[in-house]
Subunit: 212 residues, 2 copies
């Protein structure tokens, strides 16, 4: 099989890549990397990503890392397969890129801190830091106000159709929606409809099966 | 004039966009946004970027924000103007995207904290936080070890030629190279040559003129 994804399915960045492959209906080999054993800091993984972080990705002789670079490669290279994840029009593509940056620079730092504190830490028997939770809950609330406004003019972040800009949010959204943060999403009708929409996609359900 | 850039030239994200326009030899109108007066949190700016952050960008009726989305739009849309900033081959383009993500996710958070502490704070009469400086100096040092290895096989981050992946680093590099952090760059021969190369580009010198 030509395409390989390396990483644990617990990592949102890994699931982001897997969900993109499932949207494009592509076969791939999944290679588990054991973070607790430190396999991401050793060979052979470190030759795939010198920063020692998951995921890593292979497509034949091409080796990539950084989840958002990988998803964009997949969406562009396999444009004719599965579901379209990019707008055709260059101006619409640029607007999608703006929201890809918003996810990476604004949503992910806040959402990842929250999911670490209230999902991952309890899973590992650690205690959540309430101050970090409160600080990031406030940031998420302000961010979702902007998203709510965006959805008054646009069904999805990038425009009228589902794109990578929406997909990139799914792994962290999935974690947060199972916590008390749910009320931040549910209290905003457009955000709530968007979350329900993107987490109901068949490719997303298929991606979650790998986490089990 | 069709292209407009909104923001103060003190902001690395604004200079990143200006440097891209200069590489492509494009004319543009520069509209100063006074952050100290809070103009980025009010109309008309807030209609260009609902998050109230610089830069904002207009090309005719297209309105964008997030510097890295803007530079990619410019490089793709004006591919035939000025200097080529993107590889033609899709696999090389994907590798460039990996290093665009490395800048955004790893270099920028560390570099921006350092330049805020040791360049911007003293400029505003504030005192640097030594603990933050030390912590980020260590992170930058480890990061530059990976860059040094990268440059043993590749003249630029994205491959054999200068691309957006290199350009995106220039504004924060320019700040850091004027501080005691200079030794972190100079002690690594390949990194040092790369810094000298990208800061010697005519489009970069032209961009700095606007900061004066």
């Amino acid at each position: 099989m030509a395409i390989k994804v390396h990483g644990p399915m617990l990592s949102p960045a890994v699931v982001r890549v897997v969900a993109t492959l499932n949207e494009k209906n592509l076969d791939f080999e999944f290679i588990h990397v054991d973070l607790q054993k430190g396999d991401h800091k050793k060979e052979p993984f470190i030759s795939l990503n010198p920063f020692g972080q998951v995921p890593a990705f292979e497509d034949g002789d091409l080796k990539l890392f950084e989840s958002r670079a990988i998803t964009q490669y997949i969406a562009h290279t396999y444009g004719d397969k599965g579901n379209q994840l990019l707008p055709n029009d260059p101006k619409k593509l640029a607007i999608m890129s703006v929201w890809i940056e918003v996810e990476a620079q604004k949503f992910d730092p806040v959402g990842s801190k929250l999911s670490y504190e209230i999902v991952i830490k309890p899973m590992l028997g650690m205690v959540s830091d309430d101050a970090i939770v409160t600080e990031n809950e406030e940031k998420l609330s302000k961010l979702l106000d902007v998203y709510e406004s965006r959805f008054k003019n646009s069904k999805y972040l990038g425009g009228d159709s589902f794109t990578l800009a929406d997909l990139h949010h799914a792994p962290v959204l999935h974690y947060l929606i199972g916590t008390k943060m749910k009320s931040l999403f549910n209290s905003r009708p457009h955000v709530s409809a968007w979350v329900a929409d993107i987490l109901a996609r068949p490719a997303w359900a298929k991606s979650l099966e790998l986490t089990k």
